[in-house]
């Protein structure tokens, strides 16, 4: 930890907490299972996604990709492509206007968002197989795609680093991981381990995974002089805008990025991938608006996914099951054009009490597409290893796997030694166990069967940190009693717009129909990246503060007006309800917003607020917890595994909308089932090429693979967050793969430590 962060950490302990949000207990609109407000638009096709905006004189771009993993472009012959019908331009490194280097995504910078430092098409350098090396612009999409296939490229190939196995010996320890110390050490773990009677010590590995959101990555760019408008499939419109401003040397205010609807992101659209700047560049070159939609193969080639990992987890325990040592170390991969060590060691920092602890990570670099955030980066693969090991230890000790976890629930954060802001880990386990019927499970492997199918039940802990990032929001009250909430936030289908509307309605004391939430546009106050499951809470705090500011201003104006029934009332004495502000002690005394604005003779009043850094997450250990229970069947003859039942139980603070929340949990669990059983990117180490870049051969689970999924939550507010809420996007996938692997062990007696658990591993 840097001196600076150490000092901050120490100082923060003396910073007073924010007042507990009074709405944490309010149940008028927040907490109700409201249907998604954008549902009708989506099911009727009225919602316009990035590729749907009909700009005048729009032309189309298509990319050509490198077929080698490392080297230089020796020769590029675009003459045939240029002659192909309808082609307006072919951009290669030979003729491309210069762009500034892409500003690599970094949380500390605020809005630098490039996924990779590779200045594609401005360089002859090849960093990975599949890198974009030319852009063709034509008056039709087919014309552009065809012409792209006519480009002839010769390379000076160089030996590439492609084997994870081979690179491991040169792995380095990154300076920090997501701003946290890479290494956490307490006590002599190896010594404790060596002397322990009960222990497990194994290596777990996870493969590469690729993003496959339904909506392909797409960008539409239009220039008007030095004004740039971009529609982009982004989880971070502000970051894209500011990064493009840097690359094209524009004033920030001259770049507008819009993403009114995004068809799934999951981290894959959290940073700015090369095609975005290439689309902007193409529009500049041809002087017309350009649309660039990546093909599915294009997404596999140019958008990164999850790193492969190899993790060691060693656990030691006394005979009561209390952990005496916990070691979680291992290696992940990044590329030569980015820098991202996926934080698999994070769950072990917060989950279990242990006498001694050792955590660290190493990183290798390979000539691959830059790896990126994907579906709970770190926590999903980290919980696979840790929670498999916990299960192994439970069998070693002869203690029930649920009981073992309960016995190791810590009183304070095991790594930071801070207090938990809100932790109901045991309750989550108990609720899940009861709903699942865990007490009926025979401990012995291979003890349940259904005809040819061996039946097993498994459990794994879910964990995800509760992040909050600085954010801004504006609230405007109109004279007609309606309100508009604005923030550049992004809606990728998770229910952001619905939940923020609910929140604003509750906060302002207005019915839902009177609120409009505007988002997905950089002209609005700045929201952070929708990543790390932070968005709901980050925006909620900004809205809370903006509403408070507005209410205070209204009261100030009322104070100056003797006719106002609120005259003389303090902020604490009133509450927002029934379309206005009313005294808490005399609920009939007060004024509606309509009355206030008419008295003020104003069309609207508004307030904006920007929240500060999340000091609370330094002061407290803030996370969400859960338990994933599943039942699986393994065909004894063929090794096919089918998940037959799932119960997830979560402690994720206050639930703002049970309907959208359950969808988030379910979605995460489905991804977890894919991670456990079917998904894997095949990366050919001879060439660095992904060989299954399609939905036919990259196996996401299909409906037939998914059982009924029950998701339960405790709904206990965190006193240190707005509304008492935590983000819930990512926690759903964590713990799933281990739960499945543990259930497979229970069914078959076979312990599989390598994902995905395909049938060949069970034969």
């Amino acid at each position: 930890m840097s001196i600076f962060s150490k000092v901050t950490q120490a100082v923060v302990q003396f910073v007073p907490d924010r007042d507990r949000d009074q709405l944490s207990e309010e149940h008028r609109i927040v907490g109700k299972p409201i249907d998604r407000l954008d549902g009708p638009q989506k099911v009727t096709g009225a919602a316009s996604f990035t590729a749907d905006f009909p700009l005048e004189a729009l032309v189309y771009a298509s990319l050509a990709f490198s077929t080698v993993a490392k080297g230089k472009i020796r020769k590029i012959d675009a003459s045939e492509a240029e002659k192909s019908s309808g082609v307006l331009s072919v951009i290669t490194h030979k003729n491309a206007p210069k762009m500034k280097d892409p500003p690599l995504f970094s949380p500390s910078s605020g809005t630098d968002a490039a996924a990779s430092t590779a200045n594609v098409v401005n360089t002859d350098e090849i960093y990975w197989n599949g890198q974009a090396i030319a852009v063709v612009i034509a008056d039709t999409l087919d014309g552009a795609e065809h012409a792209a296939s006519l480009i002839k490229i010769e390379y000076d190939e160089e030996p590439a680093a492609l084997s994870f196995e081979a690179a491991k010996s040169q792995a380095e320890t990154p300076k920090n991981i997501m701003g946290e110390d890479t290494e956490v050490e307490r006590g002599d773990t190896e010594k404790v381990l060596a002397q322990a009677k009960y222990k497990v010590d194994h290596v777990y590995s996870t493969p590469r995974f690729n993003h496959n959101a339904i909506e392909l990555h797409a960008t539409t760019a239009a220039w008007n002089g030095d004004q740039l408008t971009v529609y982009d499939t982004s989880q971070f419109v502000r970051g894209v805008a500011d990064s493009l401003a840097k690359m094209f040397s524009l004033k920030k205010e001259n770049v507008r990025v819009l993403a009114p609807f995004v068809g799934g992101g999951f981290g894959g659209k959290g940073s700015m991938w090369g095609h975005v700047q290439l689309c902007v560049l193409a529009a500049k070159v041809v002087g017309k608006p350009v649309k660039l939609v990546l093909t599915r193969e294009g997404v596999f080639r140019t958008v990164g996914g999850r790193t492969p990992s190899e993790q060691r987890v060693a656990l030691a325990a006394d005979e009561t099951g209390k952990l005496t040592a916990l070691i979680h170390t291992g290696t992940t991969a990044s590329s030569f054009a980015n820098d991202f060590a996926e934080q698999f060691s994070f769950p072990a920092r917060h989950l279990y009490a242990t006498e001694s602890l050792y955590l660290t990570q190493k990183l290798v670099r390979l000539n691959t597409t830059p790896n990126t955030f994907m579906r709970a980066p770190g926590e999903s693969i980290g919980t696979f290893a840790l929670e498999s090991a916990m299960d192994e230890l439970a069998y070693e000790l002869g203690i029930d796997p649920v009981e073992l976890r309960l016995r190791n629930d810590p009183d304070q954060d095991p790594a930071k030694h801070t207090e938990f802001s809100s932790r109901h880990f045991k309750e989550a386990y108990r609720l899940g166990a009861e709903k699942f019927g865990w007490q009926n499970r025979p401990a012995q492997p291979r003890s349940m069967r259904d005809g040819k199918w061996l039946v097993g039940q498994g459990v794994g802990t879910a964990f995800y940190p509760a992040y909050r990032f600085p954010a801004a929001a504006r609230v405007r009250l109109n004279a007609d009693g309606t309100a508009v909430i604005q923030s550049s936030a992004q809606e990728m289908g998770m229910g952001t717009a619905t939940v923020q509307t609910q929140h604003a309605a509750e906060r302002l004391g207005l019915p839902l129909e009177k609120i409009r939430f505007e988002y997905g546009d950089t002209n609005l106050p700045q929201a952070p990246v929708a990543g790390g499951s932070n968005q709901t809470v980050s925006i909620a705090l900004a809205v809370q503060q903006a509403c408070e500011k507005l209410h205070r201003e209204l009261l100030k104006s009322a104070k100056q007006d003797q006719n106002s029934p609120l005259s003389g009332s303090h902020f604490d004495e009133v509450r927002a309800c029934d379309g206005g502000l009313f005294r808490r002690d005399k609920p009939e005394t007060g004024e509606t917003y309509v009355e206030i604005l008419s008295r003020l003779k104003q069309d609207f009043v508004e307030a904006e607020s920007e929240t500060g850094p999340p000091l609370e997450t330094m002061k407290y250990s803030m996370g969400s917890y859960g338990a994933q229970f599943c039942e699986i069947r393994v065909n004894e003859q063929t090794g096919e595994t089918r998940v037959s039942r799932w119960v997830g139980s979560f402690d994720t603070g206050r639930i703002l909308n049970p309907k959208t929340a359950v969808s988030q949990f379910r979605g995460g669990i489905i991804m977890g089932i894919g991670m456990a059983l079917t998904e894997e990117t095949f990366f050919d180490e001879r060439t660095g090429r992904i060989v299954n870049p399609s939905l036919a051969e990259y196996h996401l689970p299909v409906n037939a693979d998914i059982p009924k999924i029950e998701a339960y939550f405790l709904d206990i507010p965190d006193p240190h967050t707005p509304l008492g809420a935590h983000g819930i996007g990512e926690i759903g996938i964590t713990g799933c793969a281990a739960a499945v692997a543990n259930a497979i062990y229970h069914a078959t007696g076979k312990r599989i430590r390598e994902l995905p658990i395909t049938l060949d591993k069970l034969l």
Binding site: T638, P701, L759, L763
Partner: protein, 331 residues
């Protein structure tokens, strides 16, 4: 996709004329395979002859009790047809385990017979592939070959035929009817698809001047006692790692008739003739089935990642035959 000429044929003769008169033309059935391959630039026809208007979308009864399935009968129609479900259960099951409902609604019988391999390297024009570019080499042999052939492969090609429908048809001794410059001819399905040997670019024995008009299913009462089992990486919408189509007739505990075909293991639907002969007249029990499976897979030559298919194929054969034998006992 390259530019191409689109021709819509109203009858077989026009379709054939168009084929004969145009250089590098392809028939278009449901387009679920051809169009994909054109988009990937694996197939680059100069002309596409749409045959979906040809009057070959009927299933008719033949005088000998068999059925004639027109080449343009859609997969979903074929699988749902009452006579197919009744007389050739295995065929209906096989089709329903293939692809997705949407694809089956489009896919035609002729197109399904002619669908090309799903080998990753065949699909990637940056890779070497003797099937796509004869003489260029094979990147699958030392690459990702988990889904590849264990039987009948060559040093040139280890691809598999991906169809489920054809595996069932192989067990049923279906006959492919084609017509070309030399008139009509019939090709037994087991001779329709080829092994790769040193000409892997040729998937089938259909001549370039020929059109598939129908598939005949012979009269085969035992086919009522049939079963298709498909083992794959997810519960639906995945190609077979191994599949088994079987017909089994048992009387007095002894096997009277057995037909066995495997999918996902070879460059063509693999008719397990050695196993069939072994099974005949032997007791219908697990030991027999296992021995038959062992015999059939003796010739298996696994690659680095597909060794599991050998045991998987054996177990699936045993499993399917056990299930059929169990049913036979009950009857």
């Amino acid at each position: 996709m390259n530019n191409f000429v689109y021709i819509r044929a109203e009858n077989s003769q026009r379709a054939l004329n168009a084929l004969w008169e145009t250089n590098n033309a392809k028939f278009l059935g449901g387009g679920t395979n051809l169009v994909d391959l054109m988009r990937e630039r694996i197939e680059q026809p100069d002309a596409v002859i749409d045959i979906t208007r040809l009057p070959m979308n009927q299933i008719t009864e033949l005088p000998d009790g068999g059925l004639r399935v027109g080449a343009l009968v859609r997969n979903s129609h074929l699988a749902a047809h009452p006579l197919i479900r009744d007389r050739y259960r295995v065929l209906s099951q096989a089709i329903l385990m293939g692809a997705s409902a949407q694809l089956r609604n489009m896919a035609t019988t002729g197109g399904n017979l002619m669908q090309r391999t799903r080998c990753y390297y065949f699909y990637d024009s940056a890779a070497r592939c003797n099937k796509r570019t004869p003489g260029s080499g094979c990147d699958a042999i030392d690459g990702f070959n988990r889904i590849h052939a264990i039987l009948g492969a060559s040093s040139q090609c280890v691809a598999t035929h991906p169809s489920d429908m054809c595996v069932a048809m192989a067990a049923l001794d279906a006959v492919v009817r084609v017509t070309g410059k030399n008139g009509e001819r019939s090709i037994p399905i087991t001779e329709f698809h080829r092994l790769p040997s040193d000409t892997p670019s040729q998937d089938t024995n259909l001549n370039p001047d020929e059109l598939i008009t129908a598939v005949d299913l012979p009269n085969f009462p035992d086919a009522r006692k049939s079963l298709y089992r498909k083992v794959r990486d997810r519960a639906s919408y995945a190609f077979a790692l191994v599949s088994v189509a079987a017909v089994l007739d048992v009387k007095g505990g002894r096997i009277q008739n057995a037909r066995l075909a495997l999918g996902g293991v070879a460059h063509r639907p693999w008719r397990a003739t050695a196993a069939e002969q072994f099974l005949l007249h032997r007791p219908a029990e697990e030991k027999t089935f296992r021995e038959a499976a062992e015999l059939e897979l003796q010739a298996a030559k696994p690659l680095a990642h597909n060794g599991f298919k050998v045991e998987l194929a054996k177990r699936t054969i045993v499993d399917v035959l056990m299930e059929l034998a169990g049913k036979a006992e009950v009857q």
